[in-house]
């Protein structure tokens, strides 16, 4: 297996041949398979969501939740195979689509608070040797004043958004729906 990273020469995915030439004498071609990060999946047993509770924003008191989980990177094969490679840089960008029923006016993403800034990267986060990373700092979180009515947390939503997750050389688009009391990720 061969895992292209953002620092390496970009190779097409799939089977590739390689030969070594020494003193003008090429060797026989040897095949290797280039895995390209293509999809992400939640690692079973790692998914949890907090109970809806009070929170604060620049707009005042709100309510919301946080959902955390671990993600596995998969390649382009059918069926997709896990890419078990450390060191793939990961970061994300989130943009509202529609509707925006929770009135979200902005996002903080993986590189918020670093020089890269919101919706930019990289900022030093990489996959583990299993090809995994966590959505856990803080996790998929929403805090909206729309969810706080009559001094209590309420239900409401959704605000839909596209999360573009950058994994090594790839960008993977996922759909997020924020509700007052839960968050769905890629339909789950």
């Amino acid at each position: 297996m061969f895992y292209p990273s953002s620092h390496m020469i970009k190779l097409a995915g799939g089977n590739q041949g390689v030969t070594v030439t020494v003193n003008s004498q090429p060797s026989n071609s040897v095949n290797f398979f280039v895995q390209v990060p293509t999809s992400l999946s939640i690692v079973p047993g790692t998914d949890s969501t907090t109970s809806e509770s009070g929170c604060s924003t620049n707009l005042g008191t709100g309510c919301g939740v946080t959902r955390t989980f671990t993600l596995q990177v998969y390649d382009q094969e059918t069926p997709p195979q896990p890419i078990q490679a450390a060191g793939l840089e990961v970061w994300d960008a989130i943009n509202t689509t529609s509707p925006n029923n929770l009135g979200l006016t902005g996002y903080s993403t993986t590189c918020t608070g670093t020089a890269a800034g919101t919706n930019n990267g990289p900022c030093g986060l990489t996959t583990t040797s299993l090809g995994q990373f966590e959505e856990s700092s803080p996790g998929l979180t929403v805090c909206s004043t729309v969810c706080y009515m009559n001094n209590a947390c309420a239900t409401g939503g959704p605000t839909n958004a596209t999360q573009t997750t950058h994994v090594g050389p790839s960008s993977i688009n996922l759909q997020i729906s924020y509700y007052c009391n839960h968050v769905t990720w890629n339909g789950q």
Binding site: N58, T70, V90, D92, A115, C143, T145
Partner: protein, 255 residues
Amino acid sequence: MLTRIGLFLLLLQIQPMSAAASGSQRPEDLNAKLQTRVPGYQLQANNFVEALTRVAADFRIPMGIEWVNTPAAKAKVSLSWKNVTAWEVLRAVVNTQPSFKIAVRNGIVDVSCPDLIPDRENPFKVKINEFEVHNARVESASRQLQEIVNRTISPPKPQGGRGGIGMSGFSNADDPKISVQLSNATVEDALDALALASARKIWIVTFSANRTLTAAGYRRTGGLWTSRLVPDNEQPVWDQFHWGDPIPEVAVRPN
């Protein structure tokens, strides 16, 4: 080849210290590491910061670095020693740069340039009332600290209307979760505490060579992963590395 063999032998000698370096460490642990004497040590690095982080990684020393992104600091470093301690190596590296100082603070090695960045212009000298994280990844703790410092030095303006924010944030699943609790501490103290508690043992602040201050009166900071100019309302920023992480060359490449 001889250099590689020399480094290999050196790493063999240093290896027994690695286990003691994970998680919190006592001041005497750091002193023991700093006084570790090796028969020989060679150091080649693309710049000052890379040289410091390489020594930190080789000797498993937690370190905070506050440097100014000047041409002098971007010069390659090539040094070698015989019968030398880690402290002597670090002092020699720091002495390659005018105005830099080295000290031990809060159980980590601190490299800074107080003559270039006066305390009153240094946002990392600012005291924060409370900083507390429980069972969190270091990336989450660092983000919380950045929000506190950012709010302290440039409080956000209240806004009207209804709405809210969404968040996400990735972290390394291999790193341990940490707990830190500090009161009335400087930002430097907080970063030191994160370095001691987490697997990211090195924190680096990159000050701009431009002496223009932010609206709040502090020197601007940038990062090593990008040459992007960080807006005042996002200041200050820093980078954190594990021992052995490659130092990105984006911001420290030679002029």
